[in-house]
Symmetry: C2
Subunit: 317 residues, 2 copies
C-alpha cells in the first residue's frame, strides 16, 4: 500500500460493513472514586455502530451486524440506529441480556464493569455473509473475537472477506477484562493482525499487547506480526503510520479538545470514507485525522459530523 496510491476496493453495492458490539454504556453523572455516587446516564455504545453512523454522515453507505437482547436496552439501541437512518436488518436478537458497560467516572483511571450478554452471541448467518460479500470493507474490534461464538463468526467473516476481496479493518483494542479468565487474548489478537489490511492500535493498545516501548518499536512489532498497514495513534502527539516499507509521522490536527470519547471511531470513519471516496492513502489518513479533530471539539461518542468534503475544506486539505 503506497502512500500516494488509492486503496483498491471491489465494486459492491455497500461500502462499509461494521460487525461486532452494540451495547449500552451506563456512565456515572459525577466523578467518584468511592463508587458511592448513585446517578447514572445511559448512552448507546459500541464502536462498530459509532463508526457506521459516522461513516453514513460523512457520505458513504454503511451497515452494521450485531446482537442485542430481547429486552428494553435492545429496543433502545435499535431505535437509536433507526433515528440515525442506519439499516437494522442485520441486528440479531438473543435470549441473553443486551450487553452493558458501567463506568463510574474517576479522577484516577475509571475501571469499567463489563456485563457481556447478547453481544458475543452474534452468529454467522446467511444474511450476515450476504451483507459482507456485498460490501467493500469489513470492520471489527476485539470485542467479538474475545468470546465464543462471536469469535467463530469473525473468523468465518475474515475467511469469506479474504476469499472475495472484501478489505478488512481491525481495531486491536485489547483489554484483559473483556476476555475470559484463563484465555490468552494477547496471543489471539497477535494472531489476527496479519489477516487485516489495516490495523489502528493506540499507544495504550500497543502497551497492553507488547508491554511498554517506544512508538517506533511498537510499530515494528505490529509489522513483524504481519500487519500490512499500521496506524499507531499517539493522542496529542499525533500518529505514526507504516506500510512496512515507509513510516510517516502525522501531527494532531486537534485544536480544541472537549471530549476524547469516540475520537478513534471518528478517525476510522473519516479514513474509511475518504478511502472509499477514492482519496490516496496519504490524503485518506489526513482526512481521518481531520474528522477525529472535528469530533474532539464536541462532547459525546458520536457527534453531528458534516459531509467529508466539508471537513476537507474546513481543515484546508
Amino acid at each position: 500500500m503506497d502512500f500516494r496510491e488509492k486503496l483498491h476496493f471491489e465494486e459492491r453495492p455497500n461500502d462499509l460493513f461494521a460487525v461486532g458490539e452494540l451495547l449500552v454504556d451506563m456512565i456515572s453523572d459525577e466523578y467518584d472514586d468511592t463508587f458511592l455516587s448513585s446517578g447514572y446516564t445511559k448512552y448507546p455504545g459500541g464502536s462498530p455502530s459509532n463508526i457506521a453512523i459516522n461513516a453514513q454522515k460523512l457520505g458513504i453507505r454503511s451497515q452494521i451486524a450485531a446482537c442485542v437482547g430481547n429486552d428494553g436496552f435492545g429496543e433502545f439501541l435499535l431505535e437509536r440506529l433507526r433515528q440515525e437512518d442506519v439499516n437494522t436488518h442485520f441486528i440479531q436478537r438473543a435470549e441473553e441480556s443486551t450487553s452493558l458497560v458501567v463506568v463510574t467516572k474517576s479522577r484516577a483511571t475509571p475501571i469499567p464493569i463489563f456485563y457481556r450478554g447478547a453481544d458475543y452471541r452474534l452468529a454467522y448467518t446467511p444474511q450476515l455473509e450476504e451483507a459482507l460479500l456485498h460490501s467493500k470493507l469489513v470492520h471489527f474490534s476485539c470485542w467479538p473475537i474475545s468470546r465464543l461464538p462471536s469469535r467463530r463468526t469473525i473468523e468465518r467473516a475474515i475467511d469469506a472477506a479474504a476469499a472475495h476481496g472484501v478489505r478488512i479493518g481491525f481495531d486491536p483494542n485489547y483489554h484483559r477484562m473483556i476476555w475470559q479468565a484463563g484465555e490468552d487474548g494477547v496471543s489471539y489478537v497477535k494472531s489476527i493482525l496479519s489477516k487485516a489490511d489495516i490495523v489502528k492500535p493506540s499507544e495504550d493498545d500497543a502497551e497492553r499487547l507488547f508491554g511498554p516501548d517506544t512508538p517506533a518499536n511498537q510499530l515494528e512489532k505490529f509489522l513483524e506480526l504481519g500487519a500490512k498497514l499500521v496506524i499507531l495513534t499517539l493522542g496529542k502527539d499525533g500518529a505514526l503510520v507504516s506500510n512496512g516499507k515507509e513510516t510517516r509521522e502525522y501531527a494532531t490536527m486537534a485544536s480544541e479538545v472537549a471530549d476524547t470519547t469516540g475520537a478513534g471511531d471518528a478517525f476510522w470513519s473519516g479514513f474509511y470514507a475518504a478511502s472509499i471516496k477514492g482519496y490516496p492513502l496519504e490524503e485518506a489518513l489526513r482526512l481521518g485525522f481531520a474528522v477525529s479533530a472535528y469530533k474532539l471539539k464536541y462532547t459525546g461518542a458520536v457527534v453531528d459530523l458534516p459531509r467529508l468534503e466539508d471537513i476537507k475544506s474546513q481543515y484546508r486539505l
Copy 2:
C-alpha cells in the same frame, strides 16, 4: 408447628444467617414505556441483605453470605453493609462482575434486565459452613438455586442445616428470567419446598409455579409438595397461613402505602425476629405483618426500622 407454640431453635451464637444474592439495582428515574429515558439511580439490592439489615435493626443478630465482584459495585455493596453494621466476613469476591438488575419503570409491568455475574459463584466454604452451624436459622430465596455453582452451595447448606438443627426459611420467589433457558426451574423449586421449615410465597409466586388458582387451592399445593408452614401473602388482602392441619387468615395491617418495595423482606425480618425472640407462631406472624405494614409507610427497600418491641406497641400487639 402449632399456632400457639413457639418455634424451637437450637442455642447458637448467631440468630439469622441469610445466604444468597447481593447485587445492585439500577432503577430509571422516570416512568418510561419506550426505554428511551436516560437517567438511572443505583441502589443496593438483594433480599438476603435487606432481611439481614432489617433483622439487626429489629434486635436479632444476623449475618450474610453472598458473592460480589472485585469491582466498584462490589465495594459499594460492602460499604453499605458496613454502614449498616452488618458483618461482611462471609462476603466472597469473584472474578465476575457484581450482579446487576436494571429496571426501567413502566406504567405497564416493568420488565427487569438481569445481569448475573458474581452472585451465583457463591461457594460452600468452611467459613460459610461454620457460620451456618453457628446460626439458629438460615434463609435463602430462588436466586442462588437458579444457577450453578451456588445451587450446590445451597443444597449443601440445606443438608448441613437439616443435620444440625438449623431452621430453614425459603422464599419461593420463582421468576423464569433468572433461570437459564432450557432449565426447569419450576420443578426444581417444587422439589425444594419440603426441605424448608417455612416458605412464604406471594400470590404471584404461586401463580408462576402452579398457574392461576384460588388462594386456598394454591396453599394446598404447597402443602402437598411437603411444605411444613406456608405463608401465602395476598397483598392488600392480607395472608393465608397453614401448618397443614389448620389454616388461618390474616388481614393486612397496612394503613398507608408509600412504596411496596421490600415489604416481603420486612415481613420475613419481623417474623424471624419475633420467632427468635420467643413469640409463639401466631404472634410472630402478626409481628411480621406489623413490620411489613410499618415498612410500607416509607419509600425504599430498607427503611429505618425501630426495635421489634416498639413496633409491637405501635401496632398494639
